[in-house]
């Protein structure tokens, strides 16, 4: 069962990461940003925006399945820790730099997400499956 959760968390992170990478490529290809129909047509006229849709839909259903079975705390953390995978992939794929500010900021944010995950775990311990579907 542990392996099932782990796989679910990884799948959730994978879908979220796919969505963010796709958003970035879709946005870059649709530049310049303008509040116009032309911009919308550029966004929806190339395949990456649909990668973002797939990532979102996939993440949604994985999240719903996880909430049914997995503890809420780790699920919450996993649903937000894609910042780590997205950062690493942006350095690799888009030649972005891990500046000091981004590194320190990321550490604080990750620590915060872990705290919030622990808080959720604690709160839901006595009635683990009391209201999982409300998210």
């Amino acid at each position: 069962m542990k392996r099932f959760y782990l796989l679910g968390f990884l799948l959730l992170m994978g879908f979220d990461t796919l969505a963010q990478i796709s958003f970035k490529v879709a946005g870059t290809q649709a530049l310049p940003v303008e509040a116009s129909l032309a911009w919308l047509l550029r966004v929806f006229g190339q395949p990456w925006v649909y990668g973002a849709v797939i990532g979102y839909v996939g993440a949604f259903f994985t999240w719903m399945a996880l909430l049914k079975h997995a503890p809420i705390g780790p699920a919450f953390a996993a649903s937000h820790l894609e910042v780590v995978s997205v950062m690493l992939l942006s350095i690799w794929l888009f030649d972005e730099q891990l500046t000091l500010a981004r590194g320190l900021g990321a550490l604080a944010i990750i620590a915060g997400i872990v705290c919030l995950g622990l808080a959720e775990s604690r709160e839901h311990e006595p009635a683990a499956d009391a209201e999982p579907a409300r998210g």
Partner: protein, 125 residues
């Protein structure tokens, strides 16, 4: 593409708009799903569809989708996802004020750390 290291007014506005739409959308869904008069099953969905909350939520999410694409196209992705973490803070604070959700000490610590991290990233650009 603007040089790395400069946050323009447009980027800041898109960031703020994203917070408003994300928080507003989640609260609208919460209001739609939490309505005790809604009943069960198909009747519940019909009830939700006949009231504005569900549609407000869907509309917010569609708008947020576009705002987020525009936002990310203007700044590096690694910075964008970090700055976007502020949504976690916004929704928890909104939940506290609107639904009286408890803020335990651990939650306050988590919120403060995420906010601190976002501030470091934002000021460091």
């Amino acid at each position: 593409m603007p040089a790395e290291g400069s946050i323009s007014t447009l980027v800041a506005s898109l960031w703020l708009l994203n917070i408003v739409l994300d928080t507003g959308g989640q609260l609208a869904f919460k209001a739609a799903a939490g309505d005790p008069a809604a009943g069960d099953g198909l009747a519940r969905w019909r009830h939700m569809a006949s009231r504005p909350w569900l549609w407000l939520g869907i509309g917010s999410y569609v708008a947020e989708f576009l705002v987020w694409i525009a936002f990310l196209s203007l700044i590096p992705l690694s910075e964008g996802v970090l700055l976007g973490s502020i949504n976690i803070v916004a929704i928890m604070i909104a939940g506290r004020f609107l639904f009286g959700e408890k803020l335990t000490r651990l939650r306050v610590a988590g919120i403060a750390l995420v906010a601190l991290g976002v501030a470091i990233v934002g000021l460091g650009t």
